[in-house]
Structure formats: structure tokens, C-alpha cells
Symmetry: C2
Subunit: 350 residues, 2 copies
Amino acid sequence: MSKYWSDIVRQLNPYVPGEQPQDQKYIKLNTNENPYPPSPAVASAIQSYPVESLRRYPDPESSELRQALANYTGLEAEQIFVGNGSDEVLAHSFKAFFQGRDAILLADIGYSFYPVYCSLYQVSYAPVPLDSRYRIDVADYRGANGGIIIANPNAPTGIALTLAAIKDLLDHSESLVIIDEAYIDFGAESATGLIAQYPNLLVIQTFSKSRSLAGIRLGYALGQPALIEALNRVKNSFNSYPLDRLASATAIASLQDDEYFQLCRKRIIDTRNRLNKNLLDLDFEVLPSSSNFLFARHALRGGADLYAGLKKAGILVRHFKASRIENFLRISIGTDDECAALVKALNALL
Amino acid sequence: MSKYWSDIVRQLNPYVPGEQPQDQKYIKLNTNENPYPPSPAVASAIQSYPVESLRRYPDPESSELRQALANYTGLEAEQIFVGNGSDEVLAHSFKAFFQGRDAILLADIGYSFYPVYCSLYQVSYAPVPLDSRYRIDVADYRGANGGIIIANPNAPTGIALTLAAIKDLLDHSESLVIIDEAYIDFGAESATGLIAQYPNLLVIQTFSKSRSLAGIRLGYALGQPALIEALNRVKNSFNSYPLDRLASATAIASLQDDEYFQLCRKRIIDTRNRLNKNLLDLDFEVLPSSSNFLFARHALRGGADLYAGLKKAGILVRHFKASRIENFLRISIGTDDECAALVKALNALL
């Protein structure tokens, strides 16, 4: 600490991402990265990129990428905001929409960055408990609030809400509702189709998971133009050019190869279903996942214990020291070989 | 506007960057970009980048890049903070250090993003007038304040403070002092060497200008570890991975080619000196520049008028509609050919 720190910085309790070792020692099933490389179209775009153009600032509007996303989603470019990872898009969204008088509502077990944004921007929040089976019940999100944020599928549970439930949530909400769809491509239904109908709906997605581009930092928000305008006002008061030229070119190339995208998605879902069965066979309880990870606890062995045993065996999974979920492991879906190695290591540990 | 906007967003008056047309129609001397491409080492790093690794998140600490910067600057890695452009680094710095009770001090004519950060984070500020020759007098920055930010060289004037003046400023300051050295490589003296001595000094630099990498978005802050820790706390409450993998690799490659860097720097300084003389010959008053731009006003013709005439002639320069400087043009140093074209166009206009 130093006397030059602002009061807010003293009070912050920053987010801690999953371990990101820079060596190749581990089978990494801890940060929900995609086990498959990005599309070959991405490699071509990077290798043929006109490097001399890097001397120029990027287009502050990221028009070309936003148009590519518009074409892909069926929305208009002015309904799309892009940022340096969905974390940045989330941060700007908290600033843009969540500084009212009432507390915002979020699940007590959810993406643990949300309370951190609240602390950064001094937004008050009220955690809404998941039910006994770790599910979100949208009926719990009624009543006065300063906004609602829900991850769908939820993290780290992996459980998805139906589109009907999201619609019900929106029908009973007068405040802004953010649906964070970081994991949407692994089996849940996107709320994108509801945007035209609900001026208070903001959907956030990312290239990190399903598009194998965590290393490029690209996320985006979808909503009616008045919401996007608020995000642009925050962006243009923070960093006018959040996306670098290479990141935009990479993202555009990824969108152009839908066949590869669909193939990877399907492979991950298939592997997840097999791993789910393997874990049940090993006496794990596994929450029903619509994401690229499984959230599971063993009938007898504690989560911290299994996490440490797996790490010793060269396999990283994520363990959260949080009440109600301390016995769970969050296991990212790897390749079939990586998942087989996990099952083998668990067999040896149990 | 929408009822979902937070109060702060309603009040924002976002920064407006210089025009960034996406076509190749203009000679672009308006955003202080480098006229030369990045080092050939950058091109090699991008073309040989292992694209499959983009499926992984970047190192949240950017350790390799910070070490490369440590080697380059002679500082330690824990004295270095990296971000997505120096604009992001500046934004985090305002949040980390400038939310005290007293107003911060900044030049009345300076980088116009500073007051925008103040509005984003509700920091009060007191503009300190430049003297009659558009210079900063550090004696004007004494007395109680919540922090000081000075661009050295200043923008858009291009005028540098001596290191002795910066030292004098620090000797009389009890609050945090940020020296924004975006243009430092074009002839001014960096304050980096004072960091060991002053726990309240934060120096901010960028790869955008002198390293021809505006398109990659990379800036950094240098200071004692307690200051860097505050920036990390903000970063980790906003976006844990601000730098993508390709941007880091690009920056590291640029640092490795010092010969090219020195060559480009020198060419720009030489061109600036020639253009300065040409403008004097055309009856311009030119402020003494230590940057990669000139700030100049004509004896007879107004700034808005000349800006418009040049644009019509296919040359973009920057004009600010602000009091005391409305008759100036800010002209980025281009190649010799681009500057010759400017002189020719001015000759035709005047």
C-alpha cells in the first residue's frame, strides 16, 4: 500500500483468474479454453496481415468487425459494441448501466468477476441464492433492483436457463438485464432474438471460448442502439481504440469459417457428454452442463483434496474456496485424450 | 439517451480522436502516427507467430514483455505496468491515484483526454494556464492538489520541459505526479531516471508513436512498485488480460530492433527540423517542438480555414476549436515527400 493510492483502490478485492502457467507442463483444464486451435482462416489472416499498416491507429469504431458480427447475428451494426475481451465489455456495462440507487441482483454463485466490478465502480449488489440443485430461479429476480446480471449458462455451474425463463425474467423486469452468454455456443439458447422486443436487454458474448481465441481478447455486446450508445460513451471516455488491428482481422477471419466453428463446438459437446458419463461412473455428482466445462463433486472426496491430487498428477482443474461449492471441481472440456488422462488420474486418486 | 443509462454516462463528454478515414485518400498528418512501418522484426514475429496458441488466455502478468521493457529501460519488471494503449494506462492511473478530495492540476492546453478521465471517474481538476508563449511553468503547480499530470513534451504544443524542471516539480510536490511521455523519443529527456528517487513519480510511455505501433495498442507505466501494484489492482478489477498474445509478441520484437528504432526517430526529427524551417518561410509561427508534430499558426490565415483548405487538397492535419489555440494547426511529421506535399499545398493556399 502507498499513500498515493486512491480510497477505492485500497478497498478493491481484485479478481483472480485461473492459473495460467507459461510452461507446457500441465494438461490445462482450468480456464475453459478451447482444446482446438482457431480456424485455419485465422492463421491465414495473421500470416498475410499487412504489417506496415500497424503504424496507423485502428478504426475507433471497429466498423468492419461490427459489420461482420451484424451479418453473422442478423442484427444491425449499431446494435453491436466490441471490446478488448468480454471482461472489458462487462466492466463498461457496469459503469454504463449499474450505478443507480438500488442494488443490482446477481446469483450468489456465478462469475466471480461481477462483484469485483461492483467494487470498482461502487455499485451495490444483492446476491440471490441458487436453489438447492444450484439452479437460477428467475422468479427470485423480481422486485425493485438497480439491474440484473445473469450468466447463461451460469458459471461455474454450467447450468443453462431456457429462453422461456429469460423471457419471463424480462417480462417482469423494469431495469436493465444483462445476459452474459460467454458459454452459449455449447448447448444453450441465445437471447439475441429477444433484443428487438426488449429495450432493457443486453447480451454479451465472446470469441474466447467457442472460437478458440482467448489469446486475442475479443468480446462484444448486443442490444438496442440506445444501450450500445451508452457503452460507446464509456469506451470513448476510457480508450477510444480498444481493439487492435490484428485482433479485429483475426475475429473477422474466424466469423468467416462457420464450418470449422460448428465442428469444434460439436466435438466439445460430444467429449463433454462422454466425460460426464465417466465422472458419474467414478461416483461424481455432475451438474447438467450446457457449457464447455463440467462442475462436479465426488461422493466421498473433498474438492481441494482432488484439485491438489490432480495438480500433482500434472492436470490443472479449477477449485473455488467458496461456501456451498468447496467440494466441486470445475473441469474444462479438453480433447478426448486430455479427458481420458483426467479420468485415468482420478481413477488412480480415488 | 435511454432511461437505462447511469447518471455518469449522461454527463460524459467523451474524447474525440482525430479523424481516422479507412480509405487511402488522404495524406494523414493528423494523429501523430509514424510515417514509417514497424521494424522488420515485428513483421517476422507476426508471420511466424504460433497461431494455435491463441486458444489460450495470455499471461495475465505479461511477464515476458515486462521483462523485455525492464531490460530496455534499466528498471525492474515490478516497476513496469503494461496496458492496452497508453490511453488505458492513463485511465487506470486516474482511477488508482486521482480520486482524493483536492482537485488535480493539469495544463489548460494539453492532451484533451485528461479532463474526460476526470469526468469518467468524477475527479475534480483545476486547469493551470500555459504562459503567453504556450509553455508550462512548473512553479504554477505548487500548493495543495490531488495530483498532477503533465505531458512532456506537451500536446498539442510539442514543447518539452527540461529534466531539471521536472525535478523541481517533484521536489515541490507531495502528491502523485504523472509525466505522460507519449512523445518523449523525439527529442525530450525522459524522467525515467528519477523513479528511484521519487516514490510519487509515474512515467507513462507508448509504442504508438516512436515504434510505429499505434495499430497494436500498447502503452506502459514506469514507477516504484507500490504505484505499479495500485495499477495492477485496478487492472485486475477491470480486465485481467488487457494485452493479447500477438500484441505482446509484436512489442517484444520491436524492442529487440534498436537500430531501426533509432534510425526512424532520427529521420523524423530531421524531417521535423526541415518542415519547421519551411513553415517559418511561409510566415507561420511555429512553437519549438520536441515531438513528432509541429504546432503552428499563420500570421494572417485562421486555423479552421487552413485546416479546411488542406483537407480539400487531400491533406489531413488536426485543428482544435479551443480558446487560445483556434488559429493553430497540429501537423504530424510525415515522410519527406508528405511534408513536401504539405508545403506545396500551403503555398497554393496562402
